[in-house]
Symmetry: C2
Subunit: 234 residues, 2 copies
């Protein structure tokens, strides 16, 4: 749970400087931030924190991949988010006096930066622009979560899968006419993220293939007919 190692300070600082959140900071401030951050190397499968662990900062993914999930009383697990390089997680809890309610686990060998609470709070004290960015970040997160709630409560499994595919498609290439989506991780985990069982996910893809809307090859999904796909409802 606590950083095992922290190697090249300089590299970390360079990475921080490249993040939208820390852009435009004076070198001296950046240095203070860097002083409060630690690089953490996490092997695939390792738990970064568990529900109930205390929180004293937030994490950035430099490379690798992290999943956020909660685990039910009966042991089943629900993936809330799959965090890609360049993204952060765990900010929200920093501002509350509460322990984590989710667990975070590395899906691949990863390098994270852990920025401690203190330096964040200090920076808020000092720079309103930084506050604005923090607020914008949390807002974005909130927005995404509301969309998830919407998707869970009034879309079918198929609609969620379709929505996900189209979203990924749009992100990957600024344009809408690149038709290959690569799943970020195993189908089972993507399925959980979309709140369906692996079995059901498999069947949904099967149906989409039958309908000649997509083609699947491993984690590569080719979208054959985006227009019809958008209007497909099962």
């Amino acid at each position: 749970m606590v950083p095992p190692v922290s190697k090249p300070k300089v590299q970390a600082q360079a990475f921080l400087a490249s993040l939208p959140l820390f852009k435009e900071l004076a070198p001296s401030e950046l240095e203070r931030i860097a002083a409060g951050t630690a690089a953490i190397n996490v092997p695939r499968g390792e738990i970064i924190f568990n529900r109930g662990d205390p929180c004293d900062g937030f994490h950035f993914v430099v490379y690798g991949q992290v999943k956020l999930a909660f685990i039910s009383a009966e042991g089943s697990e629900k993936v809330v988010e799959i965090v890609a390089p360049g993204y952060s997680f765990g900010e929200a809890l920093m501002f509350m006096e509460k322990p984590y309610i989710l667990m975070a686990q590395a899906l691949a060998d990863s390098m994270l930066l852990h920025v401690s609470k203190n330096v964040v709070f200090a920076e808020i004290e000092r720079d309103p622009k930084f506050s604005r960015k923090m607020l914008a970040g949390l807002s974005r997160r909130l927005h995404g979560l509301i969309s998830d709630v919407e998707a869970y409560s009034l879309q079918s499994g198929t609609e969620r899968v379709v929505g996900y595919l189209l979203r990924q498609d749009a992100h990957e290439s600024g344009e809408f006419d690149r038709y290959v989506v690569t799943l970020p991780t195993s189908k089972a985990i993507v399925a959980s993220r979309l709140n369906v069982t692996p079995e059901h996910f498999s069947r949904i893809l099967h149906d989409l293939i039958q309908a000649r809307l997509i083609a699947v090859e491993g984690r590569e999904i080719t979208i054959l007919d985006p227009e019809r796909l958008k209007n497909y409802h099962g």
Copy 2:
């Protein structure tokens, strides 16, 4: 959508001063905030904003009650939150350049305060403590939403209802031994908030009554056996 009237400025300012968010502000600052806020009177049933409307501030409920919901393509509706007096809504969107994704509707004749974006941003510029409170507020919201996602994805309808009843119970009286919960609004709306149909909600309550765990009389629900209720799983 835009405030019809704004009457007693003084009263509004007094109310603002009583809110955690604005507590500890200097009178001069409070005045600036007050200058950017408008009182809005909304009759029961009126829509405060719709999905797609632009957002230029956030709202406080002085008295009355507001529901936040989204509406599916087919017209069905899902209640995300029931906002009680003293609480606010719509902050998150202020910090993003996006229109509302939810609609807000008054469930009772209500009085709201609308605090405009500008004064909030100005205050962030000026007072880091204010930023901290804003951040804490958003974090709390985020936390709640994650709990909702958890409840939707790995609890049954019955478990959600039970959880809701126990939560209300705890809130209403600082202690755990006051056993009457009053639903804040109609059963149908509470049901939607809990992501079940009114019919299903009714049946769940019926079962809980059968099991001698609760008694229901209109919107008054008496919890007969909190301990057993907590461990009831359908």
